[in-house]
């Protein structure tokens, strides 16, 4: 097909054809982004897998040999981080991106450019992590990054800092993505697609992104504090007398346990979909299945201390967390039984996707049973830090991954229009399943091996050798998969719209692959069955033909160009413009963030080292920040039309417009971020002694600057309200003046803060002869970092207000004051945070 012809099937959305590299750099379409996620995640699977094989080679015999000790620790740490962050969730989100909008009946996600931005931040964070290997070695303190091993005293290499910054960038990607998915899934469902009736895969993604929104905010807090300790020299985790070591464990596991379900839920969703499709039965106890998942999602935030049973937490807390842990395991029993009972009286077809899902359930059952062992605290005491834990969580997590590979085979025909080779798919499964069990089951038998050790008792040599053999079989099985999928992509049979009998969800009613606008008409479930409507009032209707049992139809792979074109014309007529699917700025912002963070990694004790390398890092930082600012402005200035309403089902946010909901969701995650910072401060202060704390603070730290700043910020909040009123009254100069006042008050806040800080830095004599610097003690660290984070929010707000002023000068916002309103929400939030910080850091 020539480029022009292909472009014509894309209805001229300004998107280059799929064969051009440029298309993949500028696309914002959810299906393209889904494919990008999937392919990139598979790359990181290979990356993390090779590291695992290096470890398995090392463990062939007990003792050092193949890898040096430090290299082994790096392999252990990087393997864990890459697999958990850069492979597991992104792989699932490849499917989520591709399938969820189709399943819920949305033409795209709510913010297509932010979706592309999530992808590019993800990719560049992964590249940044890769770079860390070449900066004196990457982080070598385990994926749990326990303090204080994670501070430069013990892990001084620049690469370790880069790895932490790569995680920060990854969290940014996740946060943007969570906000986007939550807005889309809550606001943009087709008529009749109520939350209760959403397909189970979409349900698992919805709950996953809710958990992500809050859990990753806690991780972000932990990572920002760690970055500050590493780069600016603050003392949080070095302050072992004040519980810095435990603080990290609390922050990390508050994120870490929900993370287990964040990576497992999408796999559960794939299992539910494939079990239903390939048994030809609807799931048993559907509403209880959903209720169980909601319960797990909520409860996942109150089990984290079961990772800390051997720390100094007391018996009462242990008992409480033992109870919540057992409590959270029970809903999974229900889900497992629901899946098993769905088999009964079905017509079970052992296709590759089903085999992987079935295998995943077997592995998950084994993982679950061995998890009950860990739930018994007395046993946990002995399993802590051993291969029992390693084997258990690999059975659970890689068990989940097994289902995701089922998902890859399940949706491959939809994503590519081509059918994979069924025989090779089954060979892949056989090798995979044998390799998996050969790799991980001997670990249960050799459980007394200490985790992350390469020296282990001689008695376990043969078990570890079995594991190594299994690891290589597991690795080899993927060669079969890559061969199968790439060959099928090139010369595979046409898959048709719906290669699976008894599939139900909307994606199977569409061409493979679906056209850019997804549907041949406005999708609706109003009558209980999917229909596509066109024409005024939806007069023209087309239903969905019944599944024909998997016979690929002759023209199944081709999008129905006519129907699509008519629908696109209608969307254009309704909203007054065509929908856009291309923007170069998400990629550019990702690149800029990468450069800036690479520059930051060279920071030590708040400054760049002198000499060539210091200058190099300083240059990268400066250049990256300038580039970032410029690309952000260009993104904001770009005309881009995303999907607009009216949407079918928007419960419970019918009256909250998409952008507003996005802002609220972002602020919700920001609440957790500040909550974690404030919690860390309280934790450290209590551990140090609440009143003794005053000995760490100089007399010169007085209430007055804080009080002045409180007045300044409160006044600026009123100024924003005035701006909104002016915009509503269409008073251009009133708007400019009140935004200008907001800006001026914000600048005054920062100037006052700068004067205060400079004064404290520059103290002489007394207890703080060298000045009260961020690195002086825990009190100064918490003060500068927490109020500094708030200050950064103020600075970001000032940049936004500058942008608003420039636009308002030109007469913008008079007919549509919503941007001013949303800026106001953010600004009020920043003020409210200050109202918490002021008493905590100036009065108490």
């Amino acid at each position: 097909m020539s480029a022009e012809a292909e472009q014509s099937t894309d209805h001229g959305h300004g998107l280059p054809p799929a064969s051009s590299v440029k298309r993949w750099l500028v696309t914002t379409n959810h299906k393209d982004v889904g494919i990008l996620y999937t392919v990139t995640a598979l790359f990181f699977l290979v990356f993390g897998g090779v590291l695992a094989l290096l470890m398995r080679i090392q463990l062939w015999t007990p003792g050092e040999g193949f890898l040096a000790a430090v290299s082994y620790n790096q392999a252990v740490s990087a393997h864990g981080l890459i697999m958990i962050f850069w492979f597991l969730s992104p792989f699932a989100f490849g499917f989520a991106n591709y399938v969820v909008p189709l399943q819920i009946g949305a033409r795209d996600l709510a913010f297509p450019r932010l979706n592309a931005l999530s992808y590019w931040l993800y990719l560049f964070s992964g590249i940044l992590f890769g770079v860390s290997f070449f900066q004196g070695g990457t982080f070598a303190g385990g994926w749990t990054m326990y303090a204080p091993l994670n501070i430069p005293v013990y892990t001084p290499n620049i690469g370790a800092s880069t790895a932490v910054l790569a995680l920060v960038l990854f969290v940014a990607s996740v946060t943007v993505s969570s906000v986007n998915f939550l807005t889309s899934m809550h606001r943009m469902r087709a008529e009749g697609m109520t939350l209760r009736r959403m397909p189970l895969f979409s349900w698992t993604i919805l709950l996953t992104v809710w958990m992500m929104l809050f859990a990753f905010a806690a991780l972000l807090a932990a990572l920002l504090i760690l970055s500050s300790d590493r780069l600016l020299g603050t003392q949080y985790f070095a302050a072992t007398d004040a519980g810095g070591s435990l603080l990290w464990a609390h922050l990390f596991w508050f994120f870490g346990h929900p993370e287990v379900y964040i990576v497992f839920f999408p796999a559960l969703g794939v299992m539910a979909e494939t079990f239903q499709t390939f048994t030809g039965r609807r799931i048993v106890g559907r509403k209880w299945f959903i209720a169980a998942m909601v319960l797990v999602a909520l409860q996942s935030f109150v089990v984290w201390m079961h990772h800390m049973f051997l720390t100094s937490i007391n018996l009462q807390i242990k008992t409480l967390f033992m109870a919540t842990t057992i409590g959270i395991s029970l809903p999974f029993d229900l889900m497992v039984f629901a899946l098993i009972y769905t088999l009964i009286k079905g017509r079970v077809r052992f296709t590759t996707p089903f085999l992987f899902s079935f295998g995943a359930l077997v592995l998950f059952i084994i993982g679950g049973i061995t998890g009950v062992f860990l739930g018994a605290v007395v046993l946990d005491y002995e399993f802590r830090g051993t291969y029992w834990v390693v084997a258990h969580f690999h059975y659970v997590m890689v068990g989940g991954v097994t289902a995701l590979f089922g998902g890859l085979y399940y949706w491959f025909p939809k994503m590519t229009g081509k059918m994979y080779d069924e025989f090779l798919g089954k060979v892949h499964f056989a090798l995979y399943f044998v390799g998996f069990n050969l790799l991980y089951f001997p670990m249960f038998l050799a459980w007394e091996t200490p985790r992350r050790d390469f020296v282990y008792p001689e008695a376990f040599v043969s078990l570890h050798q079995l594991s190594t053999v299994g690891g290589f079989i597991l690795g080899a099985s993927f060669l079969v998969m890559f061969y199968n999928l790439s060959k099928s992509l090139l010369v595979g049979e046409e898959a048709g719209d719906n290669p699976w009998a008894y599939s139900v969800t909307t994606e199977w009613a569409l061409p493979s692959p679906p056209p850019l606008e997804n549907f041949p008409g406005r999708p609706t479930f109003e009558t209980g069955m999917l229909e596509f409507r066109r024409g005024p009032g939806g007069t023209e209707r087309s239903g969905v033909e019944a599944a024909d049992g998997g016979e690929p139809t002759a023209d199944g792979g081709e999008p129905s160009t006519d129907g699509g074109a008519a629908y696109v014309a209608e969307i254009e007529a309704e909203s007054g413009h065509d929908e856009d699917h291309a923007s170069p700025w998400p990629f550019a912002i990702g690149l800029a963030s990468f450069v800036a963070l690479l520059g930051f990694s060279g920071l030590q004790q708040g400054g760049f080292p002198t000499g060539l390398s210091g200058g190099f890092y300083a240059g990268l930082t400066g250049g990256g920040l300038v580039l970032l600012g410029w690309t952000l402005v260009r993104l904001a200035r770009e005309r881009f039309n995303g999907p607009v309403g009216p949407f079918g089902e928007s419960w419970p946010f019918e009256n909250v417009e998409n952008t507003k909901l996005g802002v609220w969701l972002f602020l919700a995650s920001d609440v957790v971020l500040f909550g974690a910072f404030i919690g860390s401060y309280v934790f450290i202060r209590v551990a140090h002694g609440w009143t003794d704390w005053h000995d760490l603070i100089p007399e010169a730290h007085v209430v007055l600057p804080g009080l002045i700043n409180t007045y300044l910020l409160l006044t600026s909040s009123f100024a924003v309200v005035l701006a909104l009123v002016a915009a509503e009254r269409e008073s251009r100069w009133g708007l400019v003046a009140s935004l200008g006042l907001t800006f001026a008050l914000g600048v005054a806040f920062l100037v006052n803060k700068a004067l205060e800080w400079l004064h404290l830095f520059d103290l002489h004599g007394g207890a703080f002869a060298g000045g009260w610097l961020p690195s002086t003690n825990v009190a100064s660290s918490t003060f500068y970092l927490t109020t500094g984070l708030h200050g950064l929010h103020v600075i970001a707000g000032l940049f936004i207000s500058l942008y608003l002023i420039a636009r308002a000068w030109g007469g913008a916002y008079l007919d549509d004051e919503r941007p001013v309103e949303y800026f106001g929400l953010y600004w009020h939030f920043v003020d409210i945070v200050w109202l918490f910080l002021f008493p905590l850091f100036y009065i108490l």
Binding site: R197, L310, T311, F337, L379, R384, R451, V455, T506
Partner: protein, 265 residues
């Protein structure tokens, strides 16, 4: 029904399993040295876990095979209620069976955990022996080794303890997060800088055992070991008496260098 089979078997084993600790002393709740306690509970879990795993996986495999799609299958309901593309997702019935299975698994898991909770209370609060007379040793982890500080101030890199007596350990770290563990004696606790954790053990046989670190702590993590020497009580007494003479002079500075820290938890 097959779930009924699953029901009766685990409950039967549960009842039987409660008998195992009863025979080995201490009534329903396993007591004794940490090795004994762990072994009893672990065995019960292993037997039950294997059984439940085999039953559940066997049951699902059996059903997947039994209801496999074949050409010669003539189901009465074929084609009447088959799922169709474009329908809104709904569920099938069978909720009652689901709840029976769920209830059964809940009873099994909760009773197992409650049973071990009794032992947890015993392990945490009521170690055997008279706490007043027991030996208490402070353990300090550092990169990459262990220091053992006796009440008289004697510091050693080997933990020498009397056979058959309860030894209390107060564990902390000088630098990063470590975990102190002696696998063969089933004693383990985190060694956290700035915090103190306590644990205890009884060694019932003389001999030499190995202390290892169970939390990644740096390049030497795999080599962070120390020896535990379990000796006859009389040998221990005479050895300890010797160290107290020497400690008054040589180790005085060493013991006073480490000020007593506040016990947390």
């Amino acid at each position: 029904m097959s779930s009924g089979v699953g029901a009766s078997v685990p409950v039967g084993v549960l009842v039987e399993s409660v008998g195992i600790p009863a025979q080995s002393g201490g009534g329903l709740v396993p007591r004794g040295s940490r090795v004994e306690v762990f072994q009893q509970i672990f065995e019960v879990f292993l037997v039950l876990g294997t059984l439940v795993g085999v039953v559940v996986v066997g049951y699902m495999t059996y059903n997947a095979y039994k209801y496999r799609d074949r050409d010669d299958r003539g189901d009465a309901d074929d084609g009447i209620d088959a799922p169709r593309v474009g329908e809104l997702p709904t569920g099938s019935g069978g909720g009652r069976k689901l709840f029976y299975s769920f209830g059964l698994s809940t009873i099994l898991v909760v009773s197992l955990i409650l049973w071990t909770y009794g032992t947890l209370l015993y392990v945490e609060q009521d170690p055997p022996g008279d706490a007043e007379e027991d030996l208490e040793v402070e353990v300090v982890g550092y990169r990459f080794g262990w220091d053992f500080v006796y009440p008289n101030g004697h510091t050693s890199e080997t933990l020498r303890v009397p056979e058959g007596e309860t030894v209390h350990l107060e564990v902390t770290s000088d630098d990063v997060f470590h975990t102190f563990g002696v696998p063969e004696l089933r004693v383990k606790t985190d060694a956290i800088p700035g915090q103190r954790t306590s644990t205890w053990f009884v060694a019932n046989e003389t001999g030499s055992y190995e202390v290892r670190c169970f939390e990644l702590c740096g390049a030497g993590h795999s080599y962070m070991t120390a020896d535990v020497e379990v000796v006859e009580p009389r040998t221990f007494e005479s050895w300890y008496a010797d160290t107290s003479n020497e400690s008054e002079t040589a180790n005085e500075s060493n013991s006073s260098a480490r000020p007593p820290e506040e016990v947390v938890g």
